[in-house]
Symmetry: C2
Subunit: 144 residues, 2 copies
DNA sequence: GTAGTTATTGAGATTCAGTATCAATTGAGA
DNA sequence: TCTCAATTGATACTGAATCTCAATAACTAC
């Protein structure tokens, strides 16, 4: 038994909690994201939602990132990707072949930061960590 | 006594080793980078080098990244930054106020990856870690 | 040193992601 | 239902990065 996936209602509630209006377009964006099972780009999402303007898709993605409903991450070449966020504080592994995103918590990461706190001059205000993988499915499909 | 800074000759040698021609423009780019004491953007470098075309600056930066002479990293908002690379394998702390970049080695980071190797389905092919800080100088200059 | 080959260059066009504008629309509370 | 600020979308715009291609210059061989 694994963690229950975030439903689209959580996302809508998060937008409401932020004092935002629940519009048809925002529902469409949330519903489309809910169908995703891998990372996706803003542009892909936009062209898949014919009823919703491009600018609105970008605006909504930004709102959802701010509301911690989705995460914005990046491939090795910098291409921005989005993925639903299902775990409180976490990092990501991204399959560079198929875009599959896994979230992971690892206390060791936090230990790194604590150790840096001593080494580094100044105040730590944030961090980013992404692990790039070739997922099992992709390893198999390339014939071993 | 700290590690000797990489000189511009190392960079030139790296380009030679890659079988590339040593041109006046590439010397200018390398020399300008050598003067930097913080992270910089490609565009800033380009507009500072009047004698060198913009496209050439971008091309040279890419070559230097491939040659491990400089590192390409990113601010929290995704803005690409470059910085000279002086340590073998490392990660970065970036001051989001002044752009100062520190490189650090931390064996704990590598330990994180080893632990992930067990958790994660698939093969790890790379990773990225950036720590965002407010450096001591910036903390002070903002009046505590 | 000269000549030949070919990598490199620069100006400008082009692409692409993302943002700004602003008049028209609409959600949500009163 | 009424009201009005929030939201939307078409489109223009920005800025980073890449592409094109004729002109140039770095290396190599002689
Ligand atoms: Mn996430
Ligand atoms: Mn570096
Ligand atoms: Zn995969
Ligand atoms: Zn600073």
């Amino acid at each position: 038994m694994t963690t229950a996936p975030a439903s689209q209602f959580d996302a809508i509630a998060a937008l409401e909690d932020a004092g935002l209006r629940i519009t048809g377009q925002r529902r469409q964006v949330v519903a489309a994201i809910d169908r995703k099972d891998a990372g996706f780009t803003a542009e892909a999402l936009a062209s898949e939602l014919d009823g919703v303007g491009r600018a609105t898709v970008y605006r909504t993605l930004k709102l959802l990132v701010e509301a911690d409903v989705i995460c914005k991450l990046a491939l090795p070449d910098g291409t921005p990707m989005y993925s639903p966020s299902r775990v409180e504080h976490h990092h990501h592994s991204v399959c560079t072949s198929c875009g599959a995103v896994e979230e992971f918590r690892d206390s060791t990461v936090e230990r790194v930061l604590r150790s840096l706190n001593r080494e580094i001059e100044g105040e730590i205000i944030g961090h980013r960590m992404e692990v790039f993988i070739r997922c099992r499915a992709c390893l198999i499909s390339t014939d071993e």
